[in-house]
């Protein structure tokens, strides 16, 4: 598996897209710092970008890589290799190279700006960790979609739909539900609703750091326990981990059964 991981990783690092992705984050970081002149404000803007763009790029890239390297995969399958290690290797190769572009692309301008002397370093690290989690989750989801669909166009369609659903539509439905059932106690529902969507989950994680004063304005014991203590942070990270593990397991099962 490590060999395949290494191969995919270096293959991707050499590819143009990784550089484009890296350059994009580099530019974003520099522009944000240049325009804002303030680290903590830049972190807020960055959060908005990360929770929308990272999943999108993760899904598209994952699907694209799977379809592009299909012939190579088939060649590998002819070798005496475990199927799970082939696909996991490829998956990790994509996810890690994407994460690396993200961390380096954003990290470099912020470090040059003086991140280590700033109090925003924890917010920023949290942001990067969330970004990595989102990459891992959405690349895994993309591999799932690609494994289940032979048709490229269909695969891309589903991938974009998935992103659209989790990034926008889900929140719309969520909001409608909350407003419709406003006569009932909703704090459990709203927390569960957040847990079920990795994008919302990462958003709350960052909110815990940035908008805590507003979040504490709502009366509710469960909210208070969740947002007021480290409990929220721990639960959110646990949920994010589950969100990584489940799709990865499905990749393993799916690839084992799939007929190439």
């Amino acid at each position: 598996m490590l060999k395949i991981l290494k191969y995919s990783f270096f293959d991707l690092i050499r590819s143009r897209w990784s550089y484009v992705y890296f350059a994009f984050y580099l530019l974003l970081g520099i522009v944000l710092l240049f325009l804002n002149n303030d680290l903590s404000k830049a972190v807020i803007t960055l959060m908005n970008v990360i929770i929308v763009l990272v999943p999108l790029i993760g899904t598209i890239f994952g699907v694209m890589y799977y379809y592009n390297s299909k012939e190579f995969t088939e060649l590998l399958l002819a070798q005496p290799l475990k199927r799970s290690s082939i696909f996991l290797g490829q998956y990790l190769g994509v996810a890690l190279s994407l994460s690396m572009s993200l961390i380096l692309g954003l990290g470099i301008p912020f470090i040059f700006y003086g991140l280590f002397e700033s109090s925003a370093i924890w917010d920023f690290s949290l942001l990067l960790v969330t970004g990595v989690f989102l990459t891992l989750i959405f690349t895994a989801l993309a591999f799932n979609i690609a494994l289940s669909n032979e048709n490229k166009i269909k695969g891309f369609g589903y991938a974009i739909l998935l992103w659209l659903f989790l990034a926008i539509i889900y929140d719309g439905i969520f909001l409608m539900t909350l407003v419709m059932f406003e006569d009932y106690p909703l704090d459990k529902l709203s927390l569960v609703g957040t847990m079920l969507n990795p994008i919302d989950l990462s958003r709350t994680l960052i909110l815990l750091k940035l908008d805590i004063s507003a979040l504490l304005g709502y009366t509710g014991a469960i909210f208070k326990q969740f947002f007021g203590t480290n409990f929220g942070l721990i639960v959110s990270f646990a949920m994010l981990t589950i969100w990584v593990v489940l799709p990865v397991l499905r990749i393993v099962f799916k690839s084992r059964k799939k007929d190439f």
């Binding site: 908005n48 909350l178 407003v179 704090d187 609703g193 004063s213 507003a214 504490l216 304005g217 009366t219």
Partner: protein, 411 residues
């Protein structure tokens, strides 16, 4: 008023030249404050040497100056009130007063001033108290440089740090109050000056006004109090250059205004509060040159607020800038700086060319269904906020800042 002070201080000086000095210490002839006071003549000075004096219900019934050297401890042994001043022209200076009794029927205080004029209470340290300095029906006094550290846990069995009741023309400066119920409490007290105080970690309010008019409070810091600062049912109050910080909680405000008319709120800083200012039934208030930083809600308008003007303030990185619960707006917003403003300035006059709408649709939704706060900063919310901005349906459509500034207001 100044003339009055000069007049009385000359009297005080003239009389002190003739006055005696009485020393109190544990090994002296006079070893208790009570005896010292009963032996003293008017305008004498009592000097209390370092030591511990277990006394309570000390009644200061003649004009005296009581000075503590090296902070002697007056221990009330939790039995009741410690000092009661019932004479004019009393000065208390440099005492360390502890263990005030707690009662559910009487408001025991460390120092109570009753129906007296021209008192000075300064450099006093109070600990383990019920009420700290309680001034009732007394005018023209000064409360300077005191430190009040309570250990209040519940609102029902704790008292206030500095309380004024029917007392006018009092100056309260450079005091430090923490861990009591209300840090500073004014009821029916007019023309008072509250300056340079720090009021922190109190159970209820850092500063609390009730039915008190024409007061000024400035350069104070209110931090991490249960519910911030409450100004209620008062007229013509000036609130200048204060700092309101980190008042977090469901019913927590930097400042709570209720039934306040004709006030001026200028140059204050509101930082990291759940709600910066909560306004209810308050009219003709001028908000100018205030900084609102990182609050949950910078300003929450609950209704019945007319003819207020919000001019030249900075709204920086608040989760919500303004929240309204109705569609009617009679308040003016002009020349503020909004960090969320996304317009442009083509003619480069420093004023944005597109008006800014400080009330977002999402704040309306959160008012209706508070749980939706969890969707804060979601892309979907940004989209609906944008569509509401283009054509307001739920928020007041005339609530605009027509001249949003491009750069921070500085003053």
């Amino acid at each position: 008023m100044k003339n009055l002070i000069v007049f009385f201080s000359t009297i005080l000086m003239a009389s002190t030249t003739m006055a005696k000095t009485i020393e109190v210490c544990n090994s002296c002839n006079i070893s208790s404050l009570k005896t010292a006071i009963s032996q003293a003549k008017d305008f004498d000075t009592i000097i209390v040497k370092k030591g511990t004096y277990k006394e309570y219900e000390i009644s200061v019934n003649k004009p005296l100056v009581i000075i503590g050297k090296n902070y002697p401890v007056i221990d009330g042994e939790l039995k009741g009130e410690i000092f009661t001043i019932i004479s004019d022209n009393v000065t208390i200076d440099g005492l360390f007063i502890i263990n005030v009794g707690t009662s559910y029927t009487e408001d025991f205080a460390a120092i109570r001033v009753r129906k007296s004029k021209n008192f000075i209470i300064q450099n006093v340290v109070l600990e383990k108290l019920f009420f700290g300095i309680y001034i009732e029906k007394s005018n023209h006094g000064k409360v300077y440089h005191n430190k009040i550290i309570g250990d209040a846990v519940n609102e029902y069995n704790s008292g206030n740090g500095i309380q004024l009741w029917y007392s006018n023309h009092i100056e309260i400066e450079h005091n430090y109050v923490e861990h009591v119920r209300d840090g500073i409490y004014l009821e029916f007290s007019d023309d008072c000056l509250i300056k340079n105080n720090v009021s922190a970690e109190n159970l209820r309010y850092g500063l609390h006004f009730m039915f008190s008019n024409d007061d000024v409070y400035q350069d104070n810091t209110f931090e991490n109090n249960g519910a911030g600062v409450a100004v209620m049912f008062s007229k013509k109050i000036k609130m200048l250059n204060n700092t309101f910080k980190e008042n977090w909680g469901t019913a927590s405000y930097g400042m709570l205004l209720k039934e306040i008319n004709d006030a001026e709120i200028i140059g204050n800083t509101f930082e990291e509060n759940t709600i910066g200012i909560n306004i209810e039934g308050s009219n003709r208030i001028v908000y100018k040159n205030n900084d609102f930083l990182n609050n949950g809600w910078a300003i929450k308008v609950r209704g019945a607020c007319y003819a207020n003007s919000f001019v030249e303030n900075n709204f920086l990185y608040n989760s919500f800038d303004i929240s309204y619960n109705s569609k009617v707006n009679d308040n003016v917003f002009d020349r503020n700086y909004w960090s969320n403003y996304t317009g442009y300035d083509l003619d480069k006059d420093g004023v944005g060319d597109v008006p800014y709408r400080p009330v977002k649709l999402f704040s309306y939704i959160v008012n209706r269904t508070p749980e939706t706060i969890i969707l804060l900063r979601s892309l979907f919310i940004d989209i609906i906020d944008f569509s509401e901005k283009v054509s307001p349906v739920f928020t007041p459509d005339n609530l605009l800042d027509n001249n949003p500034l491009i750069k921070n207001n500085t003053w």
